[in-house]
Amino acid sequence: MAVARAESPGLSRFILPIAGLIGLGLCVAGILVLIDPNGGSNLLAAIYDALGNSAGASDLRNGQGDQLFAKLLLAVIAIGVGVGGIWLLYLGVGGLVGTLRPTWRDRILPWVFVGPALILLATYLLYPGVATFARSFFDNQGAFTLDNYAGMTDPDMVETLRNNVIWLVVATGGSVLLGLVIAGLFDRVRREALAKTFIFLPLAISLIGASVIWGFMYAWEPEGQPQIGLLNAIIVGVGGQAIPFFTTNPLNVFAEIVIMIWLQTGFAMVVLSAAIKGVSTEIIEAARLDGANERQLFFRVIVPTIRGSIVTVITTIAIVTLKIFDIVYVTTGGRFGDDVVANRMFHEMFQFFDDGRAAALATLLFVAVLPVMYLNLRNFRRQQVEG
C-alpha cells in the first residue's frame, strides 16, 4: 500500500484502501466459514442452491454427496485466509502507520513489526508455561498440594523416570556415536552424497511412520506360524525362539530406542560431516607426518577438533529424546513397563483427567531442559558482546 502511494498519488489512493477493505471482508467471511465445523459443506451447499441444484445441496447438508469438494473448497479458503490475512494485516497497519507524523511513526512502527510475534509467543509459550507451573501445585478440586510431585516416587513413576533416563543416554549416545562414525567413514568414499542420503532419509519420516515401519520389523507370530517380521524370521532361521519385542520388558524400551536412533543418526551425521569437512588440511597432514594411523587420526585429531559440533548435536538430540512421546504412544502405549514421561503426561491429561499431575510432569521436562536454555542464553550473550 505504502509502496504504491509513494509512486502514484492519484488513483491508487482510492483503489488500494477499497481493495484492502474487500480483502478484509473476505477474510472475516472466510474465518466464519472456518470456525463453523461444517463450514465447507454448508458453503458448497449454498453455492449449489444458488446454481439451482437443491438436491445436491441437501445431500451436502446431510453429510453426503460431494464431501471431497467441500474439503477442497475449505482448503482453498484456509490457505487464502491464513496467508492472505496475515499479509493484509501487516500491509494495512504498516501503511496506516506510515501516514503518521515521523516521530510517532518511528515510535509505533517497530511494534507493528514485532507485535504479532510477541502476542503469539506470550499466548502460546510464556503464559501457558507459567500457568502449567502454577497448576502443578493444585489438585483437581483447586486446593494447594504437593502430591503431584510426591506421586513421582510411586513405583510405576520411578520406572517411567528410569526409562526416560535410559532413553536419554542410549538414544542420544547411540545416534551421536553412529552419526560420528558414519560421517567419518562416508567422508572417505566416492559418491559420499548418495550414501549419506540413505542414512539421512528417515529424518523426513514421522515418528509414527517410523513406528509402523519398525513394528513390522519387530512383528511376532506365535510358535508354529510363519514369522513375517524380518528380525524374528532371522532368529527362528538360526534356530532361536521368536521374541515378542514390544511386550518383553526391559527389551521393549531398547527396541523402541532403536527406532529413534534410526531416525536421528542422519541428523547427527549431517552436522558432524559438515564439521569434519571444516577441519583444516594442515592439521590432518601434520598428524599423518607424526605417524598417526587412520583410526588415531580420526579419534585423537578430528574428534577433539569438532568437539563444539558434537556438543551441539548431543544437546539437540537429547532435547528431542527427553520429550519422546509418539514412539511409545503408538507401539505399546507404555503398558509393558516401557512408559516415558511425555506419554504418561498425555494419559494423565486425557485418560485420568488429572491436570495437576500432568502439569507436574510437564514442569519436570521443563526443569530438565533448563541447563540447555542457560547455555543457549550464555552463548547468545557472548555473541552479542563479540559482535
Binding site: 465445523p37 471431497l68 474439503k71 484456509a78 496467508v83 496475515i86 506510515g98 512502527l109 511494534w111 513489526f113 514485532v114 510475534a117 509467543l121 509459550l125 500457568a131 497448576r135 567413514l185 567422508d187 572417505r188 568414499v189 566416492r190 550414501a195 532419509l201 528417515p202 519420516i205 514421522s206 509414527i208 511412520g209 509402523v212 513390522f216 510363519p226 517380521g229 524380518l230 524370521a233 559438515a274 564439521a275 569437512k277 571444516g278 583444516s280 588440511t281 587412520e294 559440533s309 551441539t312 544437546t315 539437540t316 520429550k323 512421546f325 509418539d326 503408538v330 511425555a342 491429561m349 500432568a358 502439569a359 510432569l361 510437564a362 521436562l365 536454555m373 547455555l375 543457549n376 542464553l377
Partner: protein, 300 residues
C-alpha cells in the same frame, strides 16, 4: 547453538590425502554399502509389503516376494485403494495439507517481520525481548498443552483449523525468529543506509530488499516447519480432538493402528501414504534442508 558449517577449504586436496588406494579401500567401501543397505531395509520392507497381495502377507515374509518377483498374483495396488478410501487416508491427506500450508506460511511471515525489526529497527526493550525469544527456543511443547487446551475450549477454537494453525505458529516462532534474525543481521549495513537515503520506508525496505535476499533462510525454515507440522501427532491429538472429519495423516495412521492393527497390508500402505509428500520434498530440496539443519539445530 549454531553449528560451525564452513564449506570445506581446500576440500579436493584433502580428500585426495584421505582416500586410500582403490584395493586397500575395498573393506571400507563394503562397510559403507552394508550400512546403507541396513538403513534402508526397514523402509524397503514397508514398501514391498504395501504392494503385496494381502493373502501372501500373513503367510510369508516380504523378502520371499523379492526373491521371486515374477511369481503370479503377487503384486497389487488394491491396498492403497482400500486405505485411501475406506481407511480414510484420502480425506486425511487433504486435512494435512489444510493444516500444514498455513501453519508453515503464517509463522514465516510473522517471524520475518519480527526478525527484521530485531535486526534493523532500534527500539526500546529490543535486547531483552530477543533474549526471551532465545530462551523460549527449548521450552518443551508439553508446558503449553494444558492451558492452551482450556483456553481453546473457552474460545471454541478446539477442533478447528484456525486453532491448530495458531498453535503451530506459536510453537514454531522462536526457532523461526532466531534463524531469520541470524540471517538478516548478517546482511550488509550499506544496503540499509542506501535504501534510507533513497527515502524507502522500513516497510518498503523489508518487502523489496530484505525478503528477496532472505529466500535461502526462509526456504530452510519452511522445509523444517513443513516436516514438523506434517509429521506432528501430539498437537493434532491434543487440539484437533478425536473427530474423524479432522484427522490428519499421523492421527489417521494412528486410528488405522487401533482399528486394523493386525492388517499389515493396510498399515504399510497407510504409512507410506503419510510419508510420500515429506520424502518428495526432502529429496527435491535436500540441500536447503541440510542448510536449515546446520543453521539452527535446536527445536523446542
Amino acid at each position: 547453538m549454531t553449528a560451525p558449517a564452513q564449506p570445506a577449504v581446500g576440500h579436493v586436496t584433502r580428500v585426495a590425502a584421505w582416500r586410500p588406494a582403490l584395493l586397500r579401500s575395498l573393506p571400507l567401501r563394503l562397510t559403507v554399502i552394508v550400512i546403507c543397505v541396513l538403513w534402508t531395509i526397514p523402509t524397503l520392507g514397508l514398501l514391498v509389503t504395501s504392494v503385496r497381495n494381502p493373502e501372501l502377507i500373513s503367510s510369508s515374509g516380504w523378502w520371499t516376494s523379492l526373491l521371486n518377483p515374477l511369481a503370479p498374483d503377487q503384486w497389487t495396488l488394491s491396498n492403497y485403494q482400500e486405505v485411501i478410501t475406506s481407511g480414510g487416508m484420502g480425506p486425511a491427506f487433504l486435512n494435512s495439507v489444510i493444516v500444514t500450508v498455513p501453519s508453515t506460511v503464517i509463522p514465516i511471515t510473522i517471524a520475518a517481520f519480527a526478525a527484521y525489526a530485531f535486526a534493523w529497527i532500534p527500539f526500546r526493550g529490543r535486547g531483552i525481548l530477543f533474549t526471551i525469544v532465545v530462551g523460549l527456543l527449548v521450552v518443551p511443547i508439553q508446558m503449553s498443552l494444558i492451558p492452551i487446551l482450556s483456553l481453546y475450549s473457552g474460545a471454541s477454537l478446539y477442533g478447528t483449523f484456525i486453532g491448530i494453525w495458531l498453535a503451530h505458529t506459536g510453537f514454531g516462532l522462536p526457532l523461526a525468529i532466531f534463524l531469520l534474525y541470524n540471517f538478516m543481521s548478517q546482511l550488509p549495513r550499506d544496503l540499509f543506509e542506501s535504501a534510507a537515503i533513497d527515502g524507502a520506508s522500513h516497510l518498503q525496505t523489508f518487502i523489496k530488499l530484505v525478503l528477496p535476499l532472505s529466500i535461502p533462510a526462509l526456504g530452510a525454515f519452511a522445509i523444517f516447519q513443513f516436516l514438523w507440522v506434517w509429521n506432528d501427532l501430539l498437537v493434532a491429538l491434543t487440539l484437533l480432538g478425536p473427530s474423524t472429519d479432522l484427522r490428519v495423516m499421523p492421527t489417521a495412521l494412528y486410528a488405522l493402528l487401533g482399528s486394523r492393527g493386525g492388517q499389515w497390508q493396510l498399515l504399510t500402505a497407510g504409512a507410506f501414504v503419510t510419508m510420500v509428500l515429506p520424502l518428495l520434498v526432502f529429496l527435491v530440496l535436500q540441500r536447503a534442508f541440510v542448510r536449515g539443519i546446520l543453521a539452527g539445530s535446536v527445536k523446542g
